[in-house]
Symmetry: C2
């Protein structure tokens, strides 16, 4: 079970917990690389000017100052060259693409797994330091819509490979929503989106109230906006349901066509995992088309564990535009939940498969030869540091969860013992292998 962090909002894992996290990270990396995404990292800091480039930040940002500096911190904060820790990986990625455009082959596909920081009040599912795993495809000029479809399929494959419960990737399209609002005569489409975004938190009636009081919607307009937001289908039948609302608008048609493409492909290749959910708005302003978010079934209160969307205007260099589409997995949020609910556990907490014991203190160098022979075939091995009585050396292995101990007698004869079963057999360090389940720590998913 996860302990409390000694600094609120900054989780740290025990070695056995870290193995679960590593399994998640390795699985994501492998999936992303199989789909042709290149690894990339950006520095942890951006200038405040860069972070504010897209307007006000709705995240709490940590600014940096040199401790030994005598400067007044408040003055430094007003400086756009002031350094601050990044709060997501999308803004740094956009900056990286613009800076390195001459060195990248477009469409550029990258994954980026790094920590991000937000000075928010910590709570369940929200940390101040956490790891995100992002994939994005960015083009120089035009990015075919098909990438919006592909990224949904890649992320479903990645999430399906993790030791987590069933999930639903909910997809919507800003064009569809904005076109619809425009079609019913609500021109402040961003305002409507902001209100609709509050549906899960405050409920239908309160949102209807907001639409009327803040955006001047009539009863009919509010009802139509809420009717749109209530549509949720696992197949492309949402198209007919939207059409049945009787609204016509060019942008609405474009959005309907796009969302239909995503859901049609997903219902073929990932049936049941992807739904059209016309209530999804996503707070961030830079999305311009497809938007995604993801809930774990039975853990809806945890919030979205994977979100993203299409952004056509996040990055530009003069008249050159770099449209993109991407998703971000909340690794720490997922791992915290896996650990706190024991959804998966590591078979042992150390990589070591074999402890090579010492018959006497002078045999340490020879024992290193045995360990080296095992390691050369991928078997993790440690050598005892002292020639304690064998019982004590075995106890050391047991305490650390090492499954096998190795003995070499004075004539150079070798034996290996499984300390769980007590079975002991003659063995050759150049040949012996542990059962494959014992070679590395494995991650076991708890039965439902």
């Amino acid at each position: 079970m996860a302990r409390n962090a000694s600094l609120s909002g900054f989780p740290e894992w025990l070695p056995s917990e870290r193995l679960v996290e590593l399994h998640v990270l390795d699985t994501l990396r492998r999936t992303f690389e199989l789909h042709g995404f290149s690894s990339m990292e950006t520095r942890a800091v951006e200038t405040v000017g860069q972070l504010l480039r897209k307007g006000e930040i709705d995240k709490e940002v940590y600014a940096l100052s040199r401790l030994q500096d005598e400067d007044n911190g408040a003055a430094a904060k007003a400086d756009p060259n002031q350094l601050a820790l990044h709060f997501d990986l999308t803004v740094p990625f956009a900056r990286y693409v613009v800076e390195n455009a001459g060195y990248l082959a477009f469409p550029f596909r990258r994954y980026q797994i790094q920590k991000v920081w937000r000075g928010e009040r910590p709570q369940e599912g929200r940390a101040r330091e956490f790891t995100q795993a992002d994939i994005d495809v960015v083009a120089d000029g035009e990015l075919p819509f098909r990438y919006d479809v592909e990224l949904a399929l890649v992320i479903v494959e990645a999430l399906s490979a993790l030791p987590i419960p069933a999930f639903k990737l909910r997809v919507n399209n800003r064009k569809l929503a904005e076109g619809f609002y425009r079609g019913i005569g609500l021109e402040d489409t961003a305002g409507v989106l902001r209100s609709i975004d509050k549906l899960e938190k405050i409920g239908t009636d309160a949102v209807a109230g907001l639409l009327k009081s803040e955006l001047g919607a009539t009863d009919e307009q509010a009802a139509a906006a809420l009717a749109l937001a209530s549509i949720r289908t696992e197949d492309t039948s949402f198209v007919a349901q939207v059409r049945a609302l009787g609204v016509t608008d060019e942008l609405l048609e474009e959005g309907l066509g796009e969302l239909e493409q995503v859901i049609a492909a997903a219902s073929l290749r990932a049936p049941g995992s992807v739904v059209a959910d016309l209530s999804i708005a996503r707070g961030l302003d830079y999305y311009t088309g497809t938007v995604y978010e993801t809930v774990l079934v039975g853990h809806e209160a945890l919030g979205s564990i994977c979100s993203g969307g299409r952004y056509d205007a996040l990055a530009s260099k003069g008249s050159r535009k770099f449209p993109g589409v991407g998703l971000s997995i909340g690794v720490t949020r997922l791992v915290s939940r896996i650990l706190s609910q024991e959804l998966a556990t590591a078979s042992r907490s150390v990589p070591t498969a074999v402890l090579v014991t010492l018959a006497n203190d002078d045999s340490w160098i020879q024992a290193q030869d045995v360990a080296a022979a095992l390691r050369s075939r991928g078997i993790s091995a440690e050598v005892a540091a002292k020639a304690d009585k064998f019982g004590k050396q075995i106890k050391y292995a047991d305490r650390r969860g090492i499954p096998f101990v190795w003995f070499t007698d004075e004539d150079g004869a070798h034996q290996v013992k499984d300390i769980r079963s007590g079975e002991q057999v003659a063995a050759d360090p150049a040949v012996w292998m542990p059962p494959s389940a014992d070679l590395h720590p494995t991650i076991t998913v708890a039965p439902n």
Copy 2:
């Protein structure tokens, strides 16, 4: 070739450069795990009180403050609960061990690969954000000296597996040096160490001057201290050379015995890579016995690429002591040098081995089936986003460095083409494999 970072001291890599870094990180991880070290991470921040626990910090530290906070930054910096970015991984590790002692099995072996930050003036070999890879063994109570020997061997194995030039791990022992200084009547042994530490920078005469002016050494005492520091051997003959200086002291004898153990084992298992170098002092105060540092042969001006030592008093909890020994590899320093001197390069910049082309736009879903069949056998594959003319699709693969393109005709017959040789053959997506050299990007070491 590495470009200049857009923010001085914060290097960022291009995708092909990142592959070299990933290769270094994966190699270190694999070596450390084969030797039974568990993965561990600590949060990026510590309290200033924690960072200052061992007295003054000789590193420039970045303090954090919430950008939206109205507080005066200067006032916050005086607060010991003020958060700051860690400047190494040893201090956070010591804090983690003390906090989690009840959950760890000792001796606790861990590796930790993370970024650290220092607000120093950037220069060749020194960045403000850089990655360190640390291994340490920490005991609860007593830590057998043998771990000082073992860690030298592990680190030699790890460094030997990297695409770097030959290196020398230089080892000394604080007990040896301090005992010797005491034995010749210089009681401020820390002061002598600080002066000796400047040998490479200011030379023998200047250090002799310092010893006399600042520490009141006589000509004979200064000469003896410098004679000790001039000893450098690849085998245990340093013991006789020290004894020939005619100094007797109990601590000196203990240090001689310890260093002899390290060099004796290293000259057997890693001949030529490890030297006894009695000039090595290491600035940090917490080392109490063995000290290590490492230079790349031919790149001595780069400074140490791997340093560490034994610390008997870094961590304690009441009367409980947690002595440790460890080393830290400067990953960013190494990778920067590898890239700037093109010591190693990646065979391609993308993970993708195969681009599955489209004969027409409707075949995208079937092309996904081909790609899925390849991926299920570990072959990284992308599907073209549009049914452009084949020439254009092949050009896309070529531009991104993807070696193979896949064609499926309307009858479902498959062919795969190596775009480097032009060779095209019939292939089955369930069976075909690329040559193993093309399966993943590989790292090639430049010939000397």
